[in-house]
C-alpha cells in the first residue's frame, strides 16, 4: 500500500508556526461553520437558562458541539453534574478513536506539542488533518492552528447567539444544518480508496446505521462504525 511504503522514508514530523497558519487557512470554512453552530448553541443555551458567561465557559472549556447540544437537551435546575459528565463522555468517546489514529503523527513530538494538538482536536479539523496528511502534510501544528481558529469561531458564535437570542430567524433557511454533511462528504471524497478497496467503508456504513438504530442516542454509532470499518481494513491483505 502506498501509504505504508511512503511511511518508512517520510520526512520528519515538524511543529511550526507556518504549519499552524496552513491549518488555520485550510480550516477557515470550518471556522465559519463553527460560528454558525455556535450561534445555534448560544440560542439554545439561553433558552435553557444558562447565563452568557456560563454558555461562553461551556463552549470555551468543553469545545465539543454535539455533547453541548445534548447537555442542553437534558439540562435540569440544578444541573445533574454526574449525569451530564457521563453523557458528555459517551458522546465524545469517538475522540479516543480519533486520537488513536493521530498517534503515528504525534508520537515523536514533545508531550506539550502533541497534547496541544489533541486538546484542540475536533471531528472536522481531525478529518481535514488526516486528509492533508495523505497529501504530504507533516506539520502537527496544522491541527493546533485549525483547532484554534475553530475554537475562536465556536466561542464567538456562542456569545453572539446568546446575545441575539430569538432575533435570528430559522437557521435552516440558510442551510446551516447541512454544513457538517457537506464538509465530511468532501473529506471522504479525498480519502476515496477505489472501488476494489471499498469493503471497510461498506462495513463501517452498515455497522454505523445498525448501531444508530439499536443503541441509545449519543455518538456510539460513530465508534462502532469506525471500529468495524477499521477492523475489516486491518484484515485486508496488502497489495
Amino acid at each position: 500500500m502506498e501509504h505504508s511504503s511512503a511511511k518508512s522514508n517520510a520526512p520528519a514530523v515538524t511543529f511550526t508556526l507556518a504549519g499552524a497558519r496552513r491549518g488555520a487557512i485550510v480550516c477557515l470554512p470550518l471556522a465559519l461553520a463553527s460560528i454558525a453552530f455556535g450561534l445555534g448553541f448560544g440560542i439554545l443555551a439561553r433558552d435553557t437558562g444558562l447565563g452568557l458567561a456560563q454558555a461562553l465557559g461551556m463552549s470555551a472549556f468543553v469545545f465539543a458541539g454535539a455533547s453541548q447540544m445534548v447537555a442542553m437537551d437534558v439540562w435540569t435546575v440544578p444541573p445533574a453534574v454526574l449525569g451530564l459528565a457521563v453523557a458528555a463522555f459517551a458522546i465524545n468517546i469517538r475522540h479516543v478513536v480519533m486520537g488513536a489514529a493521530l498517534r503515528p503523527w504525534l508520537r515523536d513530538l514533545p508531550l506539550l506539542q502533541s497534547h496541544a494538538a489533541l486538546t484542540l482536536m475536533t471531528d472536522a479539523n481531525w478529518a481535514q488533518a488526516m486528509a492533508d496528511r495523505r497529501k504530504g502534510e507533516r506539520d502537527a501544528a496544522f491541527i493546533v492552528g485549525s483547532g484554534a481558529i475553530m475554537w475562536v469561531g465556536w466561542v464567538f458564535g456562542t456569545g453572539v447567539g446568546h446575545l441575539a437570542g430569538g432575533v435570528i430567524g430559522d437557521p435552516k433557511a440558510f442551510g446551516i444544518d447541512v454544513i457538517v454533511p457537506a464538509f465530511f462528504a468532501l473529506t471522504l471524497s479525498s480519502l476515496w480508496p477505489g472501488v476494489r478497496r471499498l469493503h471497510p467503508w461498506v462495513a463501517a456504513a452498515v455497522a454505523a446505521v445498525l448501531a444508530h438504530e439499536l443503541l441509545p442516542s449519543g455518538a456510539w454509532h460513530v465508534v462502532v462504525g469506525g471500529l468495524v470499518g477499521a477492523a475489516v481494513g486491518g484484515m485486508m491483505r496488502e497489495d
Partner: protein, 100 residues
C-alpha cells in the same frame, strides 16, 4: 453548592471528561503493539469514522443532507476549493428550500 456553582461544576466536569477522550486514544495506542493488524486497521480508521458519521445522516436525514453531500462531492471533484465546495453545496440546499 448554589445552583450557579453547580452549573460551573457541570461545565468543568464535562470539560474534563471531554479532554480525557481527546488525549485518551494517544495513550491507549502506547500500550497496543505496533505493526500487523493494528497498524493496517489504523490506516483505515479515518475513512471508516467519517463514513460512520455520514451514513446515518445521509440515510435518515431526508433529502437535504443527501443533496448537499452529492453537490459537495461534485463541486469538489470539479476542482473547486473546500470553501467553495462546502458553501456552494450548502447554497444549493438553501436555494431549493427557498424555491420549494
Amino acid at each position: 453548592m448554589s445552583d450557579d456553582a453547580l452549573v460551573w461544576a457541570a461545565v468543568l466536569a464535562m470539560a474534563f471528561v471531554t479532554w480525557l477522550t481527546r488525549i485518551g486514544g494517544f495513550w491507549l495506542m502506547r500500550v497496543v503493539p505496533d505493526g500487523g493488524f493494528i497498524r493496517r486497521a489504523l490506516d483505515h480508521l479515518p475513512g471508516a469514522l467519517v463514513v460512520a458519521i455520514l451514513s446515518p445522516i445521509a440515510l435518515e436525514g431526508g433529502w437535504a443532507p443527501t443533496v448537499c453531500i452529492a453537490a459537495a462531492v461534485l463541486i469538489g471533484r470539479a476542482g473547486a476549493s473546500a470553501l467553495v465546495a462546502v458553501f456552494g453545496s450548502v447554497g444549493v440546499v438553501a436555494l431549493i428550500r427557498l424555491v420549494v
